[in-house]
Every structure is written in C-alpha cells, then in structure tokens.
Subunit: 202 residues, 2 copies
C-alpha cells in the first residue's frame, strides 16, 4: 500500500504480551484443567470465570459446548480425532493467552502426550491444574449418569472405566476435588492466579 | 462436586456478551479482512490493532503467522485444506468475539462460501471488510515478489493469477486500498469500529 500521509512514525507491529499485561493488570495464559468426568472441571471453570470477571480479569472458558459444536465439529471420537481435538484446543488456548486473556480449558484430556503438546503451544503461559477427585468419588456423583451408562456398555472408551486416564506427574496445581468443595477449590485457584498472573487494578 | 459451604448463591454460568461489553466499553466481534495479496490486509491489521489497543480496546490479529504455524500447521494448500484453514479461522474468530475482543482476521479468503461460513460462525458480530485494491495495483506493489513468482509459474494456484478471487457482493465495509493510503484507510476503519462496536471509556 502506498503510504501517502507523512504522519506515520512507526512500522506496524504486533502489540506485545507485556503491553497487554500492563493494560489488563494481569498476564495472559492458559489454566488447563484436567481430571476425570465428574471431577468438577466445568463447575469450577464457570465459577472461576465469573469470579475473575467480577474482579476485572479478561477471562474465557473453552469447553465442549463452544468447541465441539464449532471449531471441532468435524472431529469424532476415534483416538486420532480425540488427539486432534485436544491439539486444536491447546493451540486456540495459546492464542487467547497471547491476546492477553486467561483462558480456562475444561476437558478431560486424559493423555500426558496431548497435554504436553498443549503446554508446548502456550510455552511458559501454560498451567496444568489437576482436579484429582478419584474414580470412586466421581462415580459416586455421576451427575450426568455417564458412569452408569459406561458400565452398562452404552458408552465406549469412557475415561476411567474403559479407557485410561494418565494422571499428571508434575501438575502446576493439584486440587483434590473429591474432598474439597467449590468454595475451597475456588479459593485455591484464585490464590494461585493472583500469584502467577497478577491482579487487575481497580 | 459436593458443595460444602453455604455461601453459594448462584449456579455458575457463562459470563454474557453484554456483561463483557459493559466492562470493556465495546462489543466483541470479528473484522474479517478480505482482499488480494498486496491489498494491505496485514499492514492495516497491525496498524489498526495498535491504534485500537492504545484507545483501550481488547483487540487481536489472526494472521498466517500465528495460525499457520500452530492451529493449522496440519493443513497444506489443497482446495480442501484451504477451505478447512478458513473454516477454523472463522470458528476461532467467533470464539474471540464471544470472549469480548475485536479480532481482526487478515487472510485473502478468496471464496464467498468460505467467508459465508465464517460469518455464520460469528453471527451478527461478523463484519466483512473488503480491501479492494485491484490486481493491477497489487501487482505493481508486489511487496514480497509473490506475483512475479506466480507469473513465472513458481507458485501454483496463486489468487488473482492462477486461482480466482471472488469479490464480496455485500461487504459491510469496502476500502479502496489501491488509491487510499494507510492513514486514510485507518480513519475509515476506526470510524466504522466506533460506530458498530462502541468506544471504551477512559
């Protein structure tokens, strides 16, 4: 494009992560929830989003609802498609982090290699949060009746029942959501966020 | 998850678009740039990002640099892969819009059907911006020497040379970047944005 006017002083460049953090009052990055079905990922993600939003954070939740019907609507549940599902979510989460938001990803993401790939996409902005309610606790809750169906053979490859869950070996944060309630879990999460992402000014 | 504490007053829900707009001072949505190679998409996208950021907007650019190397690194340049490339960008842009940001998408996106799909992902938050510098103007600039290579047969299926560009029929905004400079184009864009997305408070 011909630059006609003379009042151009700088070549356009991407706004940096530091500039965004300065304005928002907190860094951008990824809170990657992982845990069994029923471990509280969705409940905590939306509760946390509301709390952070109310305190002035730029925050957004990626979950099955907004990802599976859109970006990943072409993917099924084969092993390859499940891996690709998590790969794309990791890349999108990284973009949100780069844009200055705290993005909370709420997917079982049972495989270490998939989570490792998500971490590598977001670099140091990635925080793995293991919601470690054990299988017994999750089965006892079974809020959507999925474990019952899985045991009846109505759902194939169900994590914890007929498909493996690979526990994180070095999660950045672990919350035993089998024994801790929502308020206690949120308190741990907000303390962690205040420390690693910073706190918006009023 | 067992809710142990008694001070839970509301079931967690997604923070709404209206709540986000109220805090940010502007709506979220998608500015979808389309135009030939050399029409100014990248230059204007980054210049606009800087200007909007300086005025307090939440804004982010999606371009080949942050998308092709990450989210769409599995895609090549076959017709199917090109369509899938734009489909995914449209879905990611829609997520950013939902999260309250103005996202500027800077891809040639030569096909009407692909752009239509992107619009349907972001609903009324989608704004097609046609940078309408014509082929002669773009070829005359040829900032990366790509037209020269395309004419020499070194690049296959190059838009405008050996692959079609389908002009928008009902762009929300058209800027003739063949005759207008950066400052004039940015002025048109910021006027448009102030009107349809709103203006952040100081």
């Amino acid at each position: 494009m011909t630059i006609k006017s003379q009042n151009i002083t700088a070549v356009a460049h991407r706004v940096s992560a530091d500039e965004r953090a300065l304005v928002n009052g907190h860094k951008g990055g990824v809170l990657w929830f992982t845990g069994l079905s029923g471990s509280g990922k969705t409940t905590l993600a939306f509760e946390l989003e509301q709390r952070l939003f109310a305190r002035g954070y730029q925050v957004y939740v990626l979950d099955g609802d907004n990802v599976r019907h859109g970006l990943n609507s072409d993917l099924g549940f084969s092993p390859e498609d499940r891996a690709e599902n998590i790969r794309r979510i990791g890349e999108v989460a990284a973009l949100f982090g780069e844009a200055g938001s705290i993005v909370i990803s709420a997917f079982i993401s049972p495989y270490r290699d998939d989570r490792k790939l998500a971490r590598s996409a977001a670099h140091e902005g990635f925080h793995e949060v293991y919601l470690s309610a054990d299988l017994a606790a999750c089965e006892a809750r079974d809020p959507k009746g999925l474990y019952k169906k899985a045991h009846a053979g109505e759902i194939a490859d169900f994590t914890g029942v007929s498909a493996p869950y690979e526990e994180p070996e070095n999660a950045d944060l672990e919350i035993d959501t089998g024994t801790l309630g929502v308020e206690e879990s949120i308190a741990i999460l907000t303390d962690y966020i205040d420390t690693v992402f910073g706190v918006p000014k009023d």
